[in-house]
Point group: C2
């Protein structure tokens, strides 16, 4: 029997727990969760199945015990520091998703993993990730055309956080909602030019502190630059109980549509996701790419990679002959 | 300036002409159409732009003049013979689509191209091809769940041919139509078990010979085993003029839906195509994979490959750094 791929999770928030769940899937029996690294007190963490929980600073001691580390920290503060540090010791995958800073992060990760003779696959998830693949495949096979990405309906963590920073707001959830008529125009091959406002609606559920000025809060949200000013924004004030009861799930999804043209014939390609749990889906993708990172490194490759560099055959433990028979 | 990738087309039917059109796309300026090989009289072929048209038997004389041959023959009779023969001399791509015989064809192509130190990418197109990729990615990232493939609305060449073989039939077009309620149940994550009849409807437009017994023809079509007996089939008798006027286009499309589950959360992934011209779309895909065959061979790889083995970065001439910046 082949030895299992030894995996560690670094960061045990929603995403880390999603990865842990994915590792229990019988299809991922070729992998084994060896340790969870955390910057919190390890005793405060209760993994689902018994596994070592280790304080982050001790990660270096696990150099020979782990094949791939799945980085589950945030893109703003955790990954820019942790990523290159860990890539100097281990194969890694992460879901770095600050689009504008990806080239810079890729370069840093490449320097680290290349020198170490390891592989790092960065920006894995669904956007960046599966949506990026959908865009790249669709453009490669239909070079003439327009690509549209719509997100939602789903919870945007960044926008929810922005609302929470408004004075007098206790808690909030923001849903990004694609505008159906715009999606339909794109699907019909009309190639519309769409502003931010014409593509997405922002729907906000806000718990205000007692006695706060609701009109002022609503105005501040709606006029917030970058986040809300360029969109039609709806603000609902609700109670804390309602927020807990009706808005604690983490659904998300969206569409990538390529409206292409070959010699005056319309050709529409669409990739869409409808997710009940965003972190569990992202976690499941990270696990598949952790396997690929290990395989690539075994083949003698090193350096930082993206989903664009990885053939789908490396994402699964199934023999390619079987894949061909079952799915081609 | 880099030298262009020298491409030839083998077989100048609908698909070959679709490939030719794709090669005129400005995005494919890194490739150059060098020759068209045909088993017809070369003088009977009028390519869109001036290019050598050569009798098939002379292909061996082009060994040093061509980097990739795009095989545009049929899967039933042409490719099983032509494929291995040409793979002994050139890098190739083809759209071999007899699903049941793919493993056997893959092996033959592998023997041929491996010995020759060339690369052959087989079964490229949309099904097999893009739909196979959609199935493989979706299963890799969502190992628990069910995958459904629906085809249409579109013209099925095989079913149209089957109708034409019925006594008294002059011409015919058959549309495969996915049953909307079944698609909706799958999209809703209901994981239905569907029979052939519950997934697709067969809609037939038939031109009968004068004086033919229409009731008998309709009965023979509807009871034809494999092709129609297991489906709800509708037969319309129309005039030859009507068939020409309303049914000469070659639209197609379909959906691959993965209804997945991660820890009791439904996760739906869908890939869909809505195509006005099936041969132009397939031709455009073949051109992208012709580039990949050339790149793989330049890297020192050889043997037969499928879409599962090819990372998306090899399908385009764009630098990966740009792809990352624009699409990741």
């Amino acid at each position: 029997m082949k030895e299992k791929i030894r995996v560690a999770i670094c960061g045990y928030g929603h995403l880390g727990q999603g990865v842990e769940k994915a590792l229990f899937n019988p299809a991922n029996r070729d992998m084994e969760l060896v340790a969870i690294f955390t910057r919190r007190n390890p005793l405060s963490i209760k993994p689902v199945a018994p596994v070592e929980v280790v304080y982050f600073n001790e990660i270096g001691q696990y150099k020979d015990k782990i094949d791939v580390v799945i980085l589950c920290g945030g893109s703003a503060k955790d990954l820019p520091k942790q990523g290159p540090m860990i890539a100097r010791m281990f194969n890694t995958v992460d879901s770095f998703d600050t689009h504008a800073r990806i080239p810079e992060y890729l370069e840093k990760m490449h320097d680290a993993s290349f020198c170490a003779g390891k592989v790092s696959i960065i920006s894995v998830g669904w956007d960046p990730g599966m949506f990026s693949l959908a865009r790249a495949y669709a453009e490669a096979i239909l070079p003439t055309g327009n690509t549209y990405t719509f997100w939602g309906k789903g919870v945007s963590q960044g926008h929810s956080d922005a609302i929470r920073r408004v004075d007098g707001v206790k808690d909030a959830k923001q849903y990004t909602i694609p505008i159906e008529s715009a999606v339909e125009d794109v699907r019909a091959g009309k190639n519309p030019e769409l502003t931010a406002r014409q593509k997405h609606l922002r729907d906000c559920y806000v718990v205000a502190e007692e006695g706060a000025d609701l009109d002022r809060i609503e105005k501040e949200i709606k006029e917030m630059p970058n986040y809300f000013a360029d969109y039609d924004t709806i603000v609902h004030f609700i109670s804390e109980e309602e927020l807990q009861k009706n808005h604690s799930a983490m659904p998300h999804g969206g569409f990538v549509i390529r409206s292409g043209d070959t010699g005056n014939h319309k050709q529409i390609v669409e990739y869409s996701l409808n997710l009940e749990s965003n972190p569990e889906f992202t976690g499941s993708i990270l696990v598949a790419y952790a396997r690929a990172a290990f395989y690539l490194n075994e083949r003698g490759e090193f350096g930082a990679k993206t989903v664009f560099d990885v053939p789908v055959s490396l994402l699964t433990s199934e023999f390619t002959e079987n894949l061909v028979r079952r799915l081609l």
